[in-house]
């Protein structure tokens, strides 16, 4: 599973680093390092919907507040069904 989080300026100001930290912590807590590849990108051209995140190229709009729920549903749910 490949997760890409936008770390461009707009998403950064909306808290992309916090989103990444939440995901990193989740991945570590559930030992998903081998299953999940977490990476960054600069701009997905959907700045209005940031923080922009894709999971295997499927787009999600995440905020620091929804990051944990997003992780549970779309990462944990799919990586360890």
């Amino acid at each position: 599973m490949k997760i890409t989080v936008c770390i461009g300026s707009s998403c950064h100001l909306k808290g992309s680093h916090q989103v990444i930290r939440t995901l990193q912590q989740g991945i570590a807590a559930h030992h998903l390092e081998d299953l999940v590849q977490l990476g960054g990108t600069f701009c997905m051209s959907r700045c209005q919907e940031g923080v922009c995140v894709t999971v295997d190229d499927v787009f999600h709009s995440v905020t620091p507040d929804t990051a944990q729920a997003f992780f549970d549903e779309h990462v944990l749910g799919k990586a360890r069904p």
């Binding site: 890409t4 300026s9 707009s10 950064h12 990108t41 600069f42 701009c43």
Partner: protein, 477 residues
Amino acid sequence: MPAKMRKFDTKVQYLKYKVLREVARDAWNDTLLDNVLNIPQIIVPGKVPTMRCCVFKERAILSERVKLAMGGDKRNGNVIEVIEIACDECPAAGYEVTSSCRGCLAHRCEDVCKRGAITFDHNHVAHIDKTKCVECGACAKVCPYTAITQRVRPCQTACKIKAISINEDGAAAIDNEKCISCGACVYQCPFGAIMDKSFIVDVVKMLKESELNKQYKVYAVVAPSIASQFTYAKLGQVITGLKRLGFHAVVEAALGADMVAMWESREIAEKGFVTSSCCPGFVRYVKSAFPALEKYISHNPSPMAAIGRYIKRTDPTAKIVFIGPCTAKKMEMQEESVRPYIDSVLTFEELQALFDSREFDIQNLEEDVLDNASYYGRLFARSGGVTDAAVQALKEQNIDFEIKPEVCDGIEACKVALLKKSKNVLNANFIEGMACTGGCIGGAGCLTHGPKDASQVDKYGREAFEKTITDAVSMLK
């Protein structure tokens, strides 16, 4: 003064800008081949000369400027070139007898001159025959009234590492072995006879061929010194302008600086002595003038190369254009270790020309955002900033090591520190080398230079979302 002129310090920059703008305009329209010979006449229409003896010489020089705007002489490896016919040969320069000459009896000046270049008028006042004088300076040394002074050509005064000499034709000549491509002479020559080559045509081509970032994405990496530039507009409007030009995203080079601060601070602590490696002019100077000290240059890439490498890891087909104040970056980009990460380099002057080639009045654009780096990464733009960042990075990494910095503001200060180091009398474990005075904000590719530049960089630094370097680089694995 035309409105556009106010965006620059000098009329020479304005002239250079007009050439770049016309070349870029034709590059966008695919009309460069048809129009290249017409550009001089577009810039100098009519019959009345405004700069030189006649419009024909003006146009002849302009056609040389057009060549440089299109990449210049490919056989010359240096990005800094002399336009020989524009070089005024500064007739005022050299040794001159001033009004302090008392017309004395001793005439030591005459006796010491081996070329017989000194003559006397009916008042016994000395005169120097310029056709015989070889500018050895012996007469000036022996005159008891110090009535003979040396007027150095502005390019030679600007070049603190003495890479400029005067050739047989009286024109400036650059020693490419010594030249660090800092562009000081480019900025200082009052006739605009020395110019940096431009890659503006390559950048336009790159943007066009990306087909609105469908074929590949083009990223603009902007240097933090942008904080002191484009002051007639807001930084956010510059970012919008860059995206309108066709850049997919704009990323701060200062994020690369944050990365470098982390690595370099560890390197200082590990090795015990290091020089900075972010300024390509300084690095080049160490290599050419102090080869024995080359081993001390930090092995870390420059912020430009670091962020370029990071972007290319996230997007392997990315094309990256660095936009900054620096002409030496145009040399750094060609180095083997940097070439894979940076596809082209533009100066702020060239970016202004690029905006205007598309008739973008950036003052009227909406504001976008630019925020990737920390306060400390952004400080790299001014002298002392690299050191501040390295000290902070050690603290954040809990490394117990005290940096004793030698902050070198300008290439002359670098020379002094390097000389001391070569004699083992430098009481420091870190040399922060900046070729331009003030740091990058003093760069030759800046639109304007002013006393407030450093405080503008500090203000821009304080506006960064991330306050610590650790936070700024936290997404790195």
